[in-house]
Amino acid sequence: MLEPGGALAELRVGVRHWCEAHVPPGWRHQQRGADHAELVEFLRWWGGELRCSGLFAPHWPREWGGGFSVEEQVVIAEELARGDVPRNALFHVAVFNVAPTLFHNATREQRDRFLPGIRDGEVWCQGYSEPDAGSDLASLQTRAVRDGDRYIVNGQKVWTSWAREADWCMLLVRTDPSEAKHQGISCLVVDMHSPGIAVRPIQQAWGPADFNEVFFDNVVIPVENRLGPEHGGWGVAQGTLAAERAISILEMTERLRHHGIEGAIREAVAWRLERGEVALDDPAVRELLAECWAEVHVVRNVLNQMIDDIILGVDVSGSSSVIKVLYSELLHRMMLRITDLRGVAGQIDAGVLACAGWETGFWMNDFIHSFGWLIGGGTNEIQRNVIGERMLGLPR
């Protein structure tokens, strides 16, 4: 069990050794082309490994098994990326989205009820988007009617990641249709095993069916499952906090370095171009790969600046949109360019690797997958609106 509070260098060595001992060699190869059931089984097993190590939720408060400082979280993220761990995808919503909401917007009783389950491996999903409420989330229509000490919920959510596996859902519903759209929303915790819930998988563009449609038909939810005030759910569901976004993007950026661009550079030794020349000897290829390599460092520099600011207590909420745009567009551009470099050979389907990050080395798959980062968590167009309005004070 790795503990906070020691020397950073020791923590680094500790995480490194842990990775060497626990990351199954050849997992990338074994999991390639895995079907959904195999994927979920693997991710559950891997989440368990992380839970035993103390690395499952380092950013949580000490009393809940976290307590690692921001500097320590950086070291952990760097070493996990370097150690080529599978991504903790199945539990990401619980650890990075739900838990922070519980820490900031739940009662003591609610924390005591839900957090131990997360720590024991319960899966959560986030029921925000609806067919007619995507970017304009506040126009959501799923209705919850108060009936004494319970709500009756009817409606539909969509793009809900991991809803089939989820034990719980953090759900946004409309409780007061007479109010302005941001005012009549509440945030409920739903037991996904409740009667009246139907979940239908949706296959994604790159193959896997990680997300779903979720239908609610007279689903009963006790009032004590409401997070925050009634009709006050909009403030509760602020989304991922800037500090957590910085750390998870830092891990993704380090993955992009070790397995993305540096992987491409290693591969380009063996690629042959049309005239038989080694790709890595071609000046155009070299320039392109060097530019991508430099840009990974640029993104890392911005993250370092954010981390410094977080440590100093400076508000980094503006940078949160900037870093999402920077990382996702670098990822997207890099995957596109490397796919282009591979020419027709890059079009071979070697099977999807769904439990890694966005840089599996199957570049065309990674390219398609990378659109998810441009869209999810608020599209980059919306992020640009936010930057313009909140950072630069431009009118709506």
Partner: protein, 379 residues
């Protein structure tokens, strides 16, 4: 000891206040049309404020701080697009003397530069603007107890104003030497290169049998001299990137303000999403450029072993990103931005020069590839 962040903040405020008064757009336009090309009074104040000695060790009469602190000043000079000998004297010539092995030559001149008593520059680009050793177009050969310089260097910053030049030269056998040359030496000629950006003056410096005493070498000819030039190139890259980040930051702020105030179709243009997204793209590039130049300047206070990589990363990203910021500024300002009177073209031109003065981004990427790929491919 580098400055604390509170002290850096103080330095930044002082610089911004001074340049806000003394380097207004109107003043810059007067100064670039003058004989000297820079404002001697302002330069005197910059020296008195200690800006030229920030990164000079205390034993040499400096403040003993670092390049991270110097970069604060460079950023502010960029914001105000101030014409000044700072880049040539305080960054390049001072940097060369600080990296010199031969203190007897370097120290007295360094003292003069730091005190503002004289100005200096470095001539290390070829006439064609290349920094590749093989392209160097100044040659040196032994001449009794002295050496003789022939040929020419191009794109030398502020050469006409300089009292001393650090000159890079190549012997017939390819050996590189770096030496200090008096600007008044017989056979040395300085000729202005007419460039688009008016805030930095560039010169062609030719050498026609210029004799330089052998003691004027800053280090042993050969690999040590080459390493010194490599470090100077990194200094130049980081300094121009800091300048560009300052320009871009200023361009962003002015453009956002304009977008908030300019009304078309009955609304501020910043409410139009096309304009808003241009501004957001500028903000993203400015944030990334600022973080990268800051990281690069901090690297300069560390081990020189990583400097080439620092130069590569910085040059690959910051120059093009900041030029794009200026381009978007011009588009958002539209008609008024296309006038000589408005400052957008001043930003654009200086940012574009910053982008290439110490080598094209593409060339830096090639160097990065040459340095890093063998290491990375073997991992």
């Amino acid at each position: 000891m580098t400055l604390s962040s509170a002290e850096q903040h103080e330095l930044r405020s002082t610089a911004r206040a001074l340049l806000g008064r003394a380097s207004t757009s109107k003043r810059v336009r007067e100064v670039v049309a003058s004989e000297a090309g820079f404002d001697a009074d302002l330069w005197k104040q910059m020296v008195e404020l200690g800006w030229t000695s920030i990164h000079v060790p205390e034993r040499l009469g400096g403040a003993g701080c670092g390049y991270a602190d110097l970069a604060v000043v460079l950023h502010e000079l960029g914001r105000a697009f101030t014409p000044s000998p700072f880049l040539a004297t305080a960054v390049l010539a001072t940097g060369a003397l600080l990296a010199a092995d031969h203190d007897e030559v370097a120290v007295p001149v360094l003292a003069e530069l730091v005190a503002g008593g004289s100005l200096g520059t470095v001539a290390f680009a070829s006439v064609g603007g290349s920094y590749e050793p093989a392209q160097r177009s100044v040659s040196w050969s032994p001449d009794g107890t002295a050496v003789q310089l022939n040929g020419a260097a191009g794109y030398v910053v502020d050469a006409a104003a300089s009292d001393v030049l650090v000159v890079a030269a190549r012997a017939v056998d390819g050996t590189t030497a770096v030496m200090l040359v008096d600007a008044t030496s017989a056979g040395l000629r300085v000729e202005r290169m007419q460039t688009i950006d008016l805030t930095q003056r560039l010169f062609n410096v030719s050498f026609d049998g210029v004799r330089v005493a052998a003691e004027q070498m800053l280090t042993e000819p050969g690999p040590r001299a080459e390493a010194l030039l490599d470090r100077l190139l990194t200094l130049g890259v980081v300094a121009t990137a800091s300048d560009a980040a300052g320009i871009a930051e200023q361009a962003l702020e002015s453009t956002a303000q304009y977008a908030r105030e300019r009304i078309q179709f009955g609304r501020p243009i910043g409410s139009f999403q096309a304009v808003k997204h241009h501004c957001a793209n500028m903000a993203v590039a400015v944030e990334a450029s600022r973080a990268t130049t800051k990281a690069a300047a901090t690297d300069l206070d560390g081990e020189p072993a990583g400097w080439r990589t620092t130069a590569g990363i910085t040059a690959s990203y910051v120059g093009p990103a900041c030029s794009e910021v200026c381009a978007l500024a011009m588009r958002v300002h539209a008609g008024i931005g296309f006038t000589w009177e408005h400052d957008t073209h001043m930003w654009m031109k200086r940012a574009k020069l910053d982008e290439v003065l110490f080598g094209r981004p593409a060339w830096h990427r090639r160097r990065l590839a040459d340095d890093m790929f063998p290491v990375l491919a073997a991992k």
